[in-house]
Amino acid sequence: MYDFGVKTPKSVDEVKTALGDSDDGQYLAGGQTLIPVLKQRLAMPSDLISLARVDGLSGIEAGGDSITIKAMTTHADVAANADIQSAIPALAKLAGGIGDPHVRNRGTMGGSVANNDPAADYPAAVLGLGATVVTTEREIEADNFFTGMFETALDEGELITEIRYPIPEAAGYIKFPNPATRYALVAVMAAKFGNTVRVAVTGAGPCVFRVPEMEQALTGNFSPDSVKDGMVPADDLNNDIHASRDYRAHLIGVLARRAVAEANG
């Protein structure tokens, strides 16, 4: 690791001051991605601005038609939350399937979404459920948030404070985990809101994406049979040591059918 300074602000205002006072400050949430990156000297922040002691950045609030999760809420806390388990069980399941228990005890929703790893789980929840990302500056719709591989709509220094997930009528999430890392080789979130269906795929391409053709077919009939193989062409999918692009294309169909079946109970 290159050396850095440490700042431990207690409020969002102090976070802004800490960032302003740093040449090139970077937020530290659970550190489960950033600490390994620092060890590899792939990042060289002048200061780490720890979000762990910032008041009001952690917790879960259940409303009538949405659930709001604060950025610093850990994967373990989302997985164990009774409101999420009953309102959006697919989201509790997704959080409970990230990495391993130790990673889930430290890793946070905000860190995962800000990082936008192409194989991460949370982007599928945010995009598949059509959530709203709330930052210190504005609200960003999921459809405009994930802009590319490890890229998001966040400006330099913009802090995610919370994410609002609308409660679907039904939703299912199925992941084919990479057996070594537990990241998604491919994973699919399928959600139904009245007459709208959203399908989001992570792990398969350079960035999480929706599948309009599946969404259309499922809007007519929200049943596994509506999902046909080949609805996502293999051409632009990831092709690596873990799986070929053809295999990933095949998995998308299989997992989407299972996600719809899970949603239907």
Binding site: V6, G31, P36, A52, G99, D100, P101, H102
Partner: protein, 155 residues
């Protein structure tokens, strides 16, 4: 960096730490508690698992200053050769270790799993140990050990 104050296995200490000092380094080199092992240093293996305020974490993926004010539990806090924790006893009995390198993290994780879920079943044990890698045993003896340890912990 200002000094941090932590309780390690119940003992309160205040020490200066560097910004880059990992919790694993702090425990091994400052506290001289070398039971906590560093297997991979890349957050993969779980040999370095300790508890912070009762939750298991990989101490190689946590800075020491992040634990300021916290209670830290390491393998030394469980028991020693004369006075083994029931889970340590169960690992011995079932040959749940060969080289022993992964064992501190395995035992810390196993004890925490059982504390959170005294009636944990085999599936729960397998899922709960997903973050702990063993290159020797093939896992079956570890799972047997955790079952026996859980029974002993239930009393």
């Amino acid at each position: 960096m200002p000094a941090i104050t932590v309780r390690v296995n119940g003992l309160e200490v205040t020490k200066e730490v560097g910004a880059r000092t990992l919790l694993s380094t702090f425990i091994r080199e400052e506290m001289k508690l070398t039971g906590t092992h560093v297997g991979c240093d890349t957050s993969q293996c779980g040999a370095c698992v300790v508890t912070i305020n009762g939750k298991t974490v990989k101490s190689c993926a946590t800075f020491a200053w992040e634990a300021d004010g916290a209670d830290i539990g390491t393998i030394e806090g469980l028991g020693d050769a004369e006075n083994m924790h029931p889970m340590q006893e169960a690992f011995r009995e079932h040959h749940g270790l060969q080289c022993g390198f992964c064992t501190p993290g395995m035992v810390m994780t196993a004890v925490n799993l059982v504390e959170n879920n005294p009636d944990i079943d085999e599936d729960g044990i397998k899922h709960g140990l997903e973050g702990n890698i063993c290159r020797c045993t093939g896992y079956q003896n570890i799972i047997d050990a955790v079952k026996t340890g859980a029974k002993a912990m239930r009393g």
